[in-house]
Symmetry: C2
Subunit: 173 residues, 2 copies
């Protein structure tokens, strides 16, 4: 879809299409609509990121807390968003053996307890082995640094989702 | 449930329980968790409202845009959240005659076009006749005043939802 199509959307359509660019945070897409018209994909992305950057720390942590665990209970229960399901599936996280899954569960739980938000990773840039290694590495980082790292991952995920949507045929969304 | 129970929740449980206090904005509950422990219901409510008040105008408009129309397409399609369904049903908005429904639809559309967000009303304080009258009245208000009025309604809705949850048996949530 081209940017003219995006700029022609009323807020209902815009939130329907872009509401999950930031996982489970339709509020952010709904806020970004106030900034239309957009000149291109980069401009649209810039407004999503600016909104995130302007939030107080509690709001930035809140965004992270709206994300699912990697290979966690939501994946097992089948309650992931369509986007998360595709991303985790592509990284091989939907077909872990029991040992790998338990290991990731234990690491996820330690991470959540340490930082107060889940481990967020742009799974499309990763695979199951890299995800585990990255989780172990980031578990040792200072909190302030980890918040910045995690928000960087949120932005990578959002960039990929936005690019997918702009490439897509709007009739198929 | 008592406030000790609330304060004992990890962020996953807290977002599961309080994620729709502000309609379709789990980000807000997820952010409020950062402010625990809470002394009582009033204190919890205060943190929800403070987060809303601290958002830039685009974010406040974004909250409104996450709300459904009264007696609108989501009600007809059955895609309202459970809370909205109960509230609109209690106000008699689920059993409108065809004429009343078309009239409300037309007013809702005019309101959305004028303000860039949907008409939000704490339906539990209203009924179908009062809702229509209020929509007609608020259609004539200046934009800045209407944003304040609408956010006041969001807070009334949130207050009632929070009070319901604190009164509820956590085993039944």
């Amino acid at each position: 879809m081209d940017i003219e199509k995006v700029n022609s959307m009323d807020f209902g359509e815009f939130v329907d299409v872009f509401g999950n660019v930031i996982e489970r945070c339709p509020l952010i897409a709904a806020a970004v609509w106030s900034q239309r018209p957009f000149s291109d994909l980069e401009d649209l992305k810039k407004h999503f990121f600016a909104f995130i950057d302007a939030l107080p720390q509690s709001g930035q942590e809140g965004i992270l807390r709206c994300h699912p665990d990697l290979a966690g209970s939501e994946l097992r229960r089948g309650t992931l968003t369509a986007e998360s399901q595709r991303e985790q599936s592509g990284a091989g996280l939907t077909t872990l053996g029991a040992d790998e899954r338990l290991r990731l569960e234990e690491l996820n739980a330690r991470y959540r307890a340490r930082f107060g938000f889940p481990f967020v990773l742009a799974a499309r840039f990763s695979d199951r082995a890299a995800a585990s290694r990255e989780l172990e590495r980031r578990l040792l980082c200072p909190s302030a640094q980890e918040l910045r790292t995690a928000l960087g991952e949120v932005k990578k995920i959002g960039s990929l989702r936005l690019a997918d949507l702009l490439r897509a045929d709007p009739a198929k969304l």
